[in-house]
C-alpha cells in the first residue's frame, strides 16, 4: 500500500498542470481506432488499474457474470460535456464518452506482484453511435493491444471453495460484443442505468453514492429522486424474487427482450417484463435443440429440476449453456438463487 501511495504521489507530481490532458480525446474518436490501449491515456498505472483524474471508477449493484473474473469499471465524459438522464435506460452519453471495463483474475500464490489482467473493453460514444473495442493485455500487464477478432486466453483462478481452476477465457470479438449490446440495430451500454448505479463507492476522497458523485463532477445532468433500484442478487436480506429478477435482468435480459438477440425465443427476462408466460412459466421451448434437456417448459413452478432455464444455466456445453458466450464455468451462487426462486414459486 505504501509503495502504491508513493507511486501515486510521484505520478501526481509529474503530471502536467491540466489534468484532463492525460486522456487523449482525439484517440477516442480516431478511425481506425488506436492499436494500443496506452494511446488513450486512461491509466497512470496499468497493473493496479489506477486511472488519471477525470476517469472515474464505478461499480454496479448486480453485474454480469464472466467466469468469476474481477471487473474494474470506469467512466469518462469529456470536459465540458454532460450525459443526460433518460427514463428506464442508460444515461445518454455525449460524443467522446467512454465506458471502460477491465477483466482480471487475482494472481495465484502471489506469482506476480500485480493483478493478472486479461482484457479491457471500451464502449466509445462516437458520432454514429456506440462502438465496441477490446484490448488484450500482455503477460506483464503493461500494454494491451486491439483484438477485433477476439482471442483465446488461458487463465486460472482460485474458486470460492479454494480450488484452482483453469479457464479457456474467450475475449469476445466485435460481433460477440454486439450479441449482448445490440438493441434493435445499434450498440448500447447495458450497465450504467440509474437503477443499477444507485449505491455507494469508496472513492479515494471518501465514500459517496455514485450518482451523487457523477452529479458533482458534472458527468450527468440529473437523476430521479426516487429510483427503483435493482437489488444485489447476493444480498440474502432481500426477497428472493427481487434477487432472481435482478440477476436475470443483467445477465439475460439484454438478449432476452423484444429488441434483443434472443427476441425470436419469445422468452423475455428483462426487469420490465411482467407476463408470466413470457418470463418462462409453462412456456415450451422453441428452436432449442438439445438445450431443452428433454424438459417441457422454461420454468415449472416448484420444480427447478424440471425447468429448462436452470438446466441451461448449469450446463457448460456450447449448444446448451446460457448465456451462449462469456461463460465457460457454472455460476454456482446464481444457480443456487434461481433454484430457490423456482422452488418457492407457486
Amino acid at each position: 500500500m505504501k509503495r502504491f501511495l508513493l507511486r501515486l504521489i510521484l505520478i501526481i507530481i509529474l503530471m502536467p498542470s491540466n489534468l484532463y490532458s492525460q486522456v487523449n480525446d482525439s484517440a477516442i474518436l480516431a478511425d481506425p481506432p488506436p492499436k494500443l490501449l496506452s494511446e488513450y491515456g486512461f491509466f497512470v498505472n496499468t497493473k493496479d488499474q489506477i486511472t488519471v483524474p477525470g476517469v472515474l471508477p464505478y461499480e454496479l449493484i448486480t453485474s454480469l457474470f464472466s467466469d468469476y473474473a474481477d471487473k474494474h469499471r470506469f467512466v469518462y465524459v469529456p470536459k465540458g460535456k454532460i450525459a443526460a438522464y433518460q427514463k428506464n435506460s442508460v444515461f445518454s452519453f455525449p460524443v467522446g464518452s467512454v465506458l471502460i471495463k477491465t477483466f482480471s483474475y487475482e494472481p495465484i500464490n502471489n506469482q506476480t506482484s500485480g493483478r493478472h489482467l486479461i482484457e479491457t473493453r471500451l464502449l466509445i460514444r462516437k458520432d454514429s453511435g456506440w462502438d465496441a473495442l477490446t484490448y488484450v493485455w500482455d503477460e506483464e500487464g503493461q500494454e494491451a493491444s486491439l483484438a477485433l477478432a477476439g482471442k483465446t486466453v488461458k487463465a486460472n483462478y482460485i474458486s470460492n471453495d479454494g480450488r484452482e481452476l483453469d479457464i479457456r477465457y474467450r475475449v469476445p470479438n466485435k460481433n460477440q460484443c454486439k450479441e449482448c449490446h445490440l438493441e434493435n440495430e445499434s450498440i448500447v451500454p447495458i450497465g450504467p442505468k440509474p437503477r443499477n448505479l444507485n449505491r455507494d463507492y469508496n472513492y479515494l476522497e471518501g465514500t459517496t453514492n455514485q450518482l451523487e458523485k457523477w452529479m458533482s463532477v458534472k458527468f450527468i445532468d440529473s437523476y430521479p429522486e426516487k429510483i427503483n433500484s435493482v437489488v444485489d442478487f447476493m444480498d440474502s436480506s432481500k426477497p428472493i424474487n427481487d434477487r432472481a429478477r435482478a440477476y436475470l435482468d443483467i445477465n439475460c435480459g439484454h438478449c432476452h427482450a423484444p429488441e434483443g438477440s434472443a427476441s425470436n425465443s419469445g422468452l423475455y427476462l428483462h426487469l420490465l417484463e411482467t407476463r408470466e408466460k413470457q418470463l418462462g412459466v409453462y412456456k415450451g421451448p422453441v428452436a432449442t435443440g438439445r438445450g431443452s434437456g428433454g424438459l417441457d417448459y422454461s420454468i415449472v413452478p416448484g420444480h427447478p429440476d424440471e425447468s429448462i432455464l436452470l438446466y441451461r444455466m448449469i450446463s457448460d456445453a456450447p449448444d446448451i449453456m446460457m448465456p451462449e458466450s462469456g461463460r465457460s464455468v457454472m455460476h454456482k451462487e446464481a444457480v443456487d438463487i434461481i433454484y430457490q426462486w423456482i422452488e418457492e414459486m407457486e
Binding site: N175, P285, D319
Partner: protein, 408 residues
C-alpha cells in the same frame, strides 16, 4: 490488416466504390483470419475460402452488409467444427444482403448456420452435415434463417440435424428449392412464416419429410401462404432422434408432410411415397398444460392438397408417438395417405366451418383419406371417423408464387 496471404483484387461496381476479394486459405491461423476478415470486410467485399478443410474451434459471425462468402464447392471446402469449444452455432449472420456459396459446415456443436434478422440472404450450394449420422447429440438445425426476409435456399444439402435440416422460422418471402434434406428429424421445416415456396427438393430418410408449422407464444405467429410443390418426399423412416421437449420430438417416424395450425397451404405435384406411418397429416396444435395464447389460432385452415402422386405408406406406423397411435387405432391398421385431425373451434364444430377455410382435396389419384370427427371421438360415440373424401373435393384456388426482393 493482420491477415496474411491475402490477395486483393479491385473491382468496380456501378457506384465506383471499391470492392475487394479477401482470400483465406486453410492454415493453423485460418480461424482467426477468417473471423478477422468477417469483421474488417466492407460492403461489397467477397471472402473466398479455398479448397481444403478448415478446423474451427469457436463460433464464427458476420455482421457486415453485402458480403459474399464463397468456397470451391461443398465437397472441396469444408469448415470442420468437430473440435468446437464455444458458440451455439458454427456461423452466425446478422447483416443484410448476404450470399453464402459453395462450401460445407460440418459437425457443429449447435446449429450449423444461423441467420437472424437478415434481409436478403442466400444459401447457394451449401452443405451442412453431422457426419456420424442421425444422433441426438447432433446440433439442432443445419440451415437456420430466423426473423429474416427474402430468404433463398438453393441447391443445398442438409444431413443429420437433430431437429430440422433446413429450418426457416418467423420469416417472410422464402424460397427453398433444388435442395436435399436427409437423415434429419425434420427434413425441411417452415415455421411461423409468411410466403414460402418449397419446390423441387428431395426430402428423404428423415423422420418426417416436410413440416409446415405454426406455434404459439412467439413474436411472429399466424404462419400462412406456403406452397409445397414438385418435391420428392420419400422413405422418411428414420427413428425420431430429437431431444425430448422439442416439438419435432412428437413427429412419428415415417411421415411425409405435416401441416400444423397454418393457413393457406397448397401442396401439389409432389411424389410422396414409402413413408411408413402416413404421407400427409393436417393437424391442430394443442398442449394441455399451456394456457391459451389469445393471439394464436391453433387450427389449420384453407389447406389444399392436389395433383400429388402417392405411393406406399402406413406399412410400419410409429405407434409410440401419439399421432400415429391414435390413427392406427381409429383406422384399425388401415392407415390413410391423408389425415386430418378434424379439430376446429367449438363454434365451428357445431355450426360448421366457413366454406373458404375447408380443406380441399383434388386429383390425388387413389390416395386414401381419414378425418376424425372430434365430438364423436371425445364422447365415445360410434363412427368417430370419416373416410369419405368426396365432400372435400372442391375447386382449387391456387396461391400466388412467392417473390423474393420483389421478383421471382
Amino acid at each position: 490488416m493482420r491477415i496474411l496471404l491475402i490477395t486483393v483484387l479491385f473491382l468496380f461496381n456501378s457506384f465506383d466504390a471499391v470492392s475487394k476479394v479477401i482470400i483465406v486459405p486453410p492454415s493453423k491461423n485460418a480461424q482467426e483470419q477468417l473471423q478477422e476478415a468477417m469483421i474488417l470486410a466492407e460492403s461489397g467485399d467477397e471472402i473466398q475460402l479455398t479448397t481444403g478443410v478448415y478446423q474451427i474451434e469457436d463460433g464464427l459471425s458476420l455482421d457486415i452488409d453485402n458480403v459474399t462468402i464463397t468456397g470451391s464447392g461443398h465437397q472441396n471446402t469444408v469448415l470442420d467444427f468437430s473440435n468446437q469449444m464455444t458458440g451455439a452455432q458454427g456461423l452466425m449472420i446478422t447483416s443484410d444482403g448476404i450470399t453464402l456459396k459453395d462450401f460445407a459446415i460440418i459437425n457443429t456443436k449447435g446449429d450449423a448456420i444461423k441467420a437472424k434478422g437478415s434481409d436478403d440472404i442466400s444459401f447457394l450450394n451449401i452443405r451442412t452435415e453431422w457426419t456420424n449420422g442421425p444422433n441426438a447429440s447432433n446440433g439442432a438445425y443445419g440451415l437456420y434463417p430466423v426473423e429474416s426476409k427474402n430468404v433463398l435456399i438453393d441447391g443445398c444439402i442438409a444431413i443429420g440435424a437433430s431437429d430440422a435440416g433446413i429450418y426457416v422460422g418467423q420469416s417472410e418471402n422464402i424460397i427453398v428449392k433444388n435442395s436435399v434434406a436427409e437423415y434429419n428429424v425434420a427434413g425441411i421445416e417452415i415455421e411461423n412464416s409468411y410466403f414460402a415456396d418449397v419446390k423441387n427438393n428431395i426430402a428423404r430418410y428423415n423422420t418426417g419429410g416436410i413440416l409446415v408449422f405454426d406455434l404459439p407464444d412467439l413474436p411472429q405467429q399466424g404462419g400462412h401462404h406456403v406452397r409445397v410443390f414438385d418435391n420428392l418426399i420419400i422413405d422418411n423412416n428414420t427413428d425420431n432422434f430429437a431431444p425430448e421437449g422439442n416439438i419435432v420430438g412428437e413427429v412419428p417416424r415415417g411421415t411425409g408432410i405435416i401441416i400444423m395450425a397454418n393457413s393457406d397451404v397448397e401442396v401439389f405435384n409432389n411424389d410422396i411415397s414409402d413413408n411408413g406411418t402416413l404421407n400427409i397429416a393436417i393437424v391442430s396444435y394443442s398442449d394441455p398444460n399451456q394456457e391459451s395464447d389469445e393471439n394464436y389460432y391453433p387450427y389449420p385452415k384453407s389447406i389444399q392438397i392436389h395433383g400429388n402422386r402417392f405411393g406406399a405408406s402406413g406399412f410400419n406406423p410409429d405407434t409410440d408417438k401419439e399421432l400415429a397411435g391414435i390413427l392406427y387405432e381409429l383406422s384399425e391398421g388401415d392407415m390413410p395417405d391423408i389425415f386430418w385431425d378434424g379439430v376446429l373451434p367449438i363454434s365451428q364444430m357445431i355450426l360448421g366451418q366457413p366454406e373458404d377455410e375447408k380443406i380441399r382435396l383434388n386429383n390425388n389419384g387413389e390416395a386414401s383419406f381419414l378425418a376424425i370427427r372430434p365430438l364423436r371421438y371425445l364422447l365415445s360415440f360410434p363412427n368417430p371417423i370419416d373416410r369419405d373424401q368426396s365432400q372435400y373435393s372442391r375447386k382449387i384456388e391456387s396461391l400466388q408464387p412467392v417473390l423474393i426482393n420483389n421478383s421471382e
